[in-house]
Amino acid sequence: MLLLQLILNGLQVGAIYALTAAGFSLIFGSTKIFHFAHGATFTIAAYLFHYALTNLGLHWTLGVAMAAGGAVLFGILLDRFMYAPIQRHEGSFFTVFVASFGIGIVVENVIGMVFGRSFISVSTSLSRSVELLPDLYVSPLVGLAVLTSLVCFVAVHMFLMHTHAGMALRALSENTELVKTFGLSPRRLSAYAFALGSVLVVPAAIFTASSSGLNPAVGHHVMLISLAATIVGGIGSIRGAAFAGLLIGMVENVALWQVGTQWSEALTFAVLFFFIIFRPSGFFGRAAVS
């Protein structure tokens, strides 16, 4: 029963990781921008949701809208006013990374100043587990997290495969010059990528706020997992990042069946090293020759 319990826990955690990793992978794959501040987007969305529900007393749907609005706005503004000028001046990959890393730290401190630096969580009965079978506890959030992830991935897939904007985004990841030749604006497409990638972290942020709680530094862990999942899944592959996020969540939890709790995080990175050594292109990535 312990194994089944750990698998169910892994599903919930994995669904959350999958959403955050897919958002990061979408942005990185399309724009080639190492958006380290993706963790900050997660933190902003989670705190706005908490603020809307707890401080403003709004209905949860308005809380979701506020979190999504804040995340999208942050992503687009960052792209427009920080990444675009750096790219215009032909800043290196490292310059973009350092700038994004700095923004992550600024956001962490601003959130600490505005919302306080202690632990907060959204109180909901949905996070409270019920005993389904003897010694098997499941909270409604598990089902919600998995269902929401599936809906989000189907929606993103439909968008990328069946809309002009989605096709243009895929084209942007392949060949920026060709996109310009067709009269499309890479800058505008980049904004689409940031909007979509940022909105994908919103459900994950909301589930985290409700299940494990928040502190201003919560984005670091999110970013670490997103990065690992992007490499394991194959750089640029949203489907790969989603599978990898799920895999990491499962490994983190199922590992506890046999090994001590202190090893669970280390095993995440053991998976990462395994892929780097034996399958550097990841789950669904394509091998490249430079």
Binding site: R128, S139, S211
Partner: protein, 375 residues
């Protein structure tokens, strides 16, 4: 001519007057977590230290104003060492407040080498009592707290099988060691010990492991945001057993967490209604400024600064410099200190002894369940 030289004269006068003012001021340092997941502790610690400095200045205990220079450790040893280096080598303070077991251990060698007194009021790792004569503790250490917790669980509640969830650092290792030592003689048993990394945030898997071992009580040895996440996730994932911890649970955010209601924790025992003048003034002024009763952490850092003020006052009266070496000698020469909580004395190893109380989280200030005399 005078008009031409006026700006230069003004500048010289300003520089001279400011240097005179600085020379009169007395500065001590503090290495606290001011950012990161444990920053809320820094706020609590600062409130105690600032209040003590304010009282010392109101009473004109020293020849100049007493200032506390704060540096951020993020509760991480490497940041703590950088902060301590700045305070010792740049600011040249004789006395530094420290917090967190890992940080305190990291800065203790520099304190010893530079003959700077470091005073801990927050870390409770048992080995903090053996970091050299320049390292003092104004807080009872985990060996006192864990002993009282084990006694209460086994003797008062009959809860003998205990599972420990501990953060993998010197504090966690110290508490594991103390639980192993104290439970067995009382007829209790440490069923399982789950080590977690300081950065871990997901504990649903740990909760499943705890449930499967079916203990009578769960001891949590963590701190900051992480300990709240552990409590919430244990309760959310069906762990209904008695939760117990150490003084880190006195954090206001934990006291307000609905899932923590009914949890037990230990702290040093301080009677907030005491009529002794030091305690009364501290409690009254803290309540007036913050609208709530202080916690033991606030009192500890108040006491840490007050110890400095008392020692420095005595040194100034004797015409001696306020240096780490002289502060140490003066502390050894002083039998009793009038601090918040009453009249206390330091042990030879530089650690204060105090009675320990077991409290229950009730949503407001904790409810005292039992007080154990210091041993």
């Amino acid at each position: 001519m005078i008009r031409k030289r006026l700006p230069a004269l003004t500048l010289a006068a300003t520089l001279f007057s400011s240097s005179v003012a600085l020379a009169d001021d007395v500065s001590i340092g503090a290495v606290f977590p001011l950012s990161g997941p444990n920053a809320s502790y820094g706020d609590v610690f600062m409130s105690g230290a600032n209040l003590a400095a304010k009282h010392a200045n109101e009473d004109h205990m020293l020849s100049g104003d007493l200032n506390v220079l704060y540096e951020d450790s993020q509760a991480l040893p490497q940041h703590g060492v950088i902060a301590m280096n700045k305070l010792v080598n740049v600011e040249e303070v004789p006395y530094v407040l420290s917090a967190f077991t890992g940080v305190s251990k990291a800065i203790s060698t520099l304190a010893q080498r530079s003959e700077t007194v470091a005073v801990n009021g927050g870390g409770v790792g048992p080995d903090l009592a053996a970091l050299g004569e320049y390292f003092w503790n104004v807080i009872p250490l985990a060996n006192n707290e864990v002993g009282a917790a084990s006694k209460y669980l086994v003797e008062e509640l009959g809860l003998k099988r205990v599972t420990l969830i501990y953060v993998d650092d010197p504090l966690g290792a110290g508490i594991l060691n103390e639980l192993e030592k104290t439970l067995e003689p009382l007829g209790g048993e440490l069923v399982e010990a789950h080590s977690i990394t300081p950065s871990a945030q997901q504990f649903s898997g740990v909760a499943a492991r705890v449930r499967s071992s079916n203990p009578d009580a769960v001891y949590i040895a963590s701190y900051g945001a992480q300990q709240l996440q552990i409590v919430k996730q244990l309760r959310d994932n069906g762990v209904d057993q008695q939760i117990i911890s150490y003084s880190a649970f006195s954090l206001p955010s934990l006291q307000a967490l609905p899932e923590a209601k009914g949890a037990l924790y230990t702290t040093q025992s301080i009677d907030w209604d005491s009529t002794d003048p030091v305690t009364k003034r501290f409690v009254d002024d803290y309540r007036a400024a913050n609208g709530k009763t202080p916690t033991s952490y606030v009192a500890n850092y108040y006491n840490a600064v007050r110890v400095f003020a008392l020692l420095a006052k005595e040194l100034e009266a004797q015409g001696k410099d306020v240096t780490g070496e002289n502060l140490l000698a003066q502390r050894k020469a002083t039998d009793k200190f009038e601090l918040v909580g009453g009249s206390v004395s330091f042990q030879d190893n530089g650690t204060l002894l105090a009675p320990i109380q077991v409290l229950e989280v009730t949503g407001g200030a904790g409810e005292i369940k039992k007080v154990y005399a210091e041993d």
